[in-house]
């Protein structure tokens, strides 16, 4: 599987969509929709609505997250927004503000 990395000095203002894993070390504003996994690393900043299968967040995310499988908030992340996913993990040390909705999707 090919992989996409948004490096730490990169700023994207707009929409990202695709069918593969995406690693964000830089800044993304706008909207992200993927059919695979999204990794927001500790240097990553996302101000966007996110639609994916899986999300792992170690950085900062502001926006609503909708995942078809799992959302994982790692210990150093900062997340503001609503999360909707069948599985949601929030690690000790994570900071989060928003609603959680674990309604299983059909």
């Amino acid at each position: 599987m090919a992989n996409t990395v948004i490096g730490s000095s990169l700023i994207i203002d707009g929409e990202i969509s695709g069918d593969e894993d995406l690693v964000i070390q830089g800044t993304v504003k706008g909207k992200i929709s993927l059919k695979e996994s999204l990794f927001v690393e500790s240097s990553g900043v996302v101000e966007a609505d996110i639609e994916t299968q899986n999300v792992e967040i170690a950085g900062r995310v502001t926006g609503n997250i909708a995942a078809t499988d799992k959302v994982e908030l790692k210990s150093d992340c900062r997340v503001v927004g609503d999360i909707k996913a069948p599985r949601i993990l929030i690690a000790d040390g994570a900071s989060f503000k928003g609603n959680v909705d674990m309604d299983v999707k059909g």
């Binding site: 490096g7 990169l10 929409e15 894993d21 990794f39």
Partner: protein
């Protein structure tokens, strides 16, 4: 699945994978490799590499650009733009160095900047390259030796008139007018460089 650490590769290198579409504005201070699609606007302080699977429909402003895929839009580079043999581009190029190799397809304008301030830097490397290629050429093609010919082209005529000199003189090269030969050689040099 590989971990994010493994995926990220060397620091300061961004890859847009083949199934990814980015629509909007993209800015950064690192190299960017595009294997997917980028539409909108792209501004980097370093190198943009568009791989054969990559499509960029954007106005691009970078330091260096290497296009092996498709670019539709204008490219302004502070250093160089290179269209490789797989590169296809429609748009205008503005850069002090523009390299278009055999096989590349391109439609648009090329602007290498002002002659006065732009030339001194790019010219020096060329001036160094050309003599080297010239020196190599005569070995490959003995007949076209006109840098020396001013002296030598007189020799064969001597030789023909004086039988004693025939031994010294090599099989008389076709006496090409030096101006024509120089012109032809420049063309050859340009091809060799590519």
């Amino acid at each position: 699945m590989a971990s994010p650490k493994e995926l990220s590769g060397p620091a300061g290198n961004t890859v847009i994978g083949p199934s990814i579409l980015i629509n909007g504005r993209l800015t950064g201070d690192e190299d960017l490799t595009v294997r997917g699609r980028v539409e909108g606007e792209l501004a980097l302080t370093r190198t943009l590499i568009v791989e054969p699977s990559g499509v960029v429909k954007a106005n691009v402003s970078v330091k260096n650009a290497v296009v092996s895929g498709v670019v539709v839009g204008n490219i302004a580079a502070t250093e160089s733009v290179e269209l490789t043999r797989d590169g296809r581009m429609v748009g205008d190029i503005r850069s002090p160095r523009v390299i278009i190799v055999d096989g590349a397809s391109f439609r648009g304008r090329v602007d290498m900047g002002e002659l006065a301030p732009g030339r001194p830097l790019p010219d020096r490397p060329r001036a160094q390259v050309r003599p080297a290629v010239r020196a190599a050429l005569p070995a490959a093609r003995p007949p076209a030796v006109p840098p020396r010919p001013p002296a030598r082209s007189t020799l064969p005529s001597f030789a023909s008139s004086r039988p004693s000199e025939v031994g010294k003189a090599p099989p008389a090269p076709p006496p090409v007018p030096p101006t024509v030969a120089a012109g032809a050689k420049k063309k050859v040099v340009v091809k060799k460089k590519r």
